[in-house]
Amino acid sequence: MKFRNILLAATIALLPLAAHAEQKLADFKLADRIKAKIDAGKTLDFFVSYHDVSNEFAPFMKAGVERAAKDDKVNAQFIGPVGSDADGQISEIETLMGKMDGLAISSVSTDALAPVIDRVLAAGIPVVTFNTDNPNSKRLAFAGQDLVKSGVEAGKLMAKVLGGKGKVMITTIDAAAQWSLDREKGAREGLSASPDIKIVNTLNTGTDPQKIYSAIENAMLADPSINGILSLECCSTPAAGTWVERNGKTGQVKVVGFDLLDQTVELVGSGNIQATIDQAPEKQGFAAVDLLAKFLKGQPIDNVDTGVGIYTKDNIGEVAKKK
């Protein structure tokens, strides 16, 4: 399964990305049921299916979804599987298809969810993607961080903190996941601008905190000449920073990662993580619902880039204050 994902991702990466154009309601064959509802001025029911409602970003996404529902005066329900479970996500959507007036989805797996998305669209229900795009489907638009682009940012940041020279290890909690493959591709691209930087390997750490830490510990012992750790996600970022802190490598081994977990914020403050990239999950949840609402009001919609926030020791104080 994982191997198939990699093959697929490689194939997708080789295909030229189709230029995206604005989508309009006038060009969409809307289900009569939804049309009648709009004409009658009834409140629309949207469903926002996130690929893992038990992860740490889910509450922020959900908050964004609720804010948008209030602003746009629609019902928006936050759904999705506990743990990245493609079958669970598919069957939930199938169950709710009869009563959804719009679907926003972040896919567990691109190839598994694409046919479902197309089926929902074929039933006359508008579908947008958020957080994790599904380029294989015919979704109307995508709201979120461009994963490849955020990877490129991370790669460039790493090159900058290393002064353009060094040995970098890439870490990820799920090397075969679509988001990870996209970010890794970007990170490698961002690093390749500096010819004196060598990427040693990609470390797949698993998701449990102890396993993540142990994997980093083992890998750093296996190759002590590594002086840069580039983490592709939330959770191996603080683990890498913690390893640096506990092994007295502050400043010698540079860490660049993602997101703003409590520990990450602390470790950026103490100089054990040089930079971290935020993905603004609340904005993504908001944009997902907002796109659907706009579309059904007849406004043209297009992809929304929710942006990249870069935090270093200089500006991490802003986050610490907010929390």
């Binding site: 409602v53 905190p209 142990s214 994997a215 012992l221």
Partner: protein
Amino acid sequence: MAETVRTGARAPGIDRLGFARLLRAREAGVFIALLVLCLFLSFATDGFLTSLNLLNVGRQISLLGIMAVGMTFVLISGEVDLSVGSNYALSGLASGMAIIAGFGLIPALALGLAVGAAIGLINGLLSTYGRLPSLIATLGMLSMVRGTALIVTNGQPVTVNLRNGALPDVLAAFTKMGQGYLFGTIPMQLVFFVVVAAIAWFILSYTNFGFRIFAVGGSAKAARVSGISVNTVKIWAFVLMGLLAALAGILGLAFLPSSQAGRTGLGLELDVIAATIVGGASLSGGEGTILGTILGVLIIGVMRNGLVLMGVSPFVQELMIGLVIIIAVGIDKWTSRKAG
């Protein structure tokens, strides 16, 4: 009284000397496998045979080891516990949340351990008086406990630090428990594992309770006839498992001060069962030793460490771990067939 029970349970034909010889053979098989693995890694990598790496491995296997010791009791009694990964997460979170709510160290630890023991008790009651197969009962609990952890934390990571409200001296003591070193070299987690294993070994080998667990797992019917309360023994095995899963969960949080209900300990139950089985415990009950379990945990830990040191691709690592489980248990079966 104790003597009567012993005689009674021996009746179904467990030849004590033969039994002991069989156990030795099982452990020997696993030990040889471990030795071969270590020898190979010593030559194949630079980093394996260094004191730093060996202590790292010791620390990395400790939490798994503590839980595998508990699992040994459950498997010997003829049951299985699939809820340990979820228990590990919830108990650790309970202690962590208590600490950041300003509790003292002892009350916070007691809360976590009580949560673990309660989960064990429920598992035990469902699998005995509830007449559910433990596979089903604990599978249900796996989900319920994980769900509870997600509800209690609202899916948010719990980070034990001063800013979130931990008292300074409590945090210092808690940190020491998970990150400290005995004599400046031996990681505290490893110390806990050794102590737990030693106590468990004593209980299993020298106490009436240990004997009853073997009797119950070997033949519940015979044990019942000879006056052993099968249900009570099994419930205690589950409670012990629950306590040890909680201890591991608390130590895990003390080592890395942040835990997230959706990720922590996910799938850990399979690692725990795999290590225990590799160590010679039988899924059908009545067989298993603490020494064997320690060896099983070591094989899995050394394997993971060695594969990373050798730079093996993460996907190949998954395959290799599975292969080791099958080979280790395979060797065990061949040797035991010869012995029998």
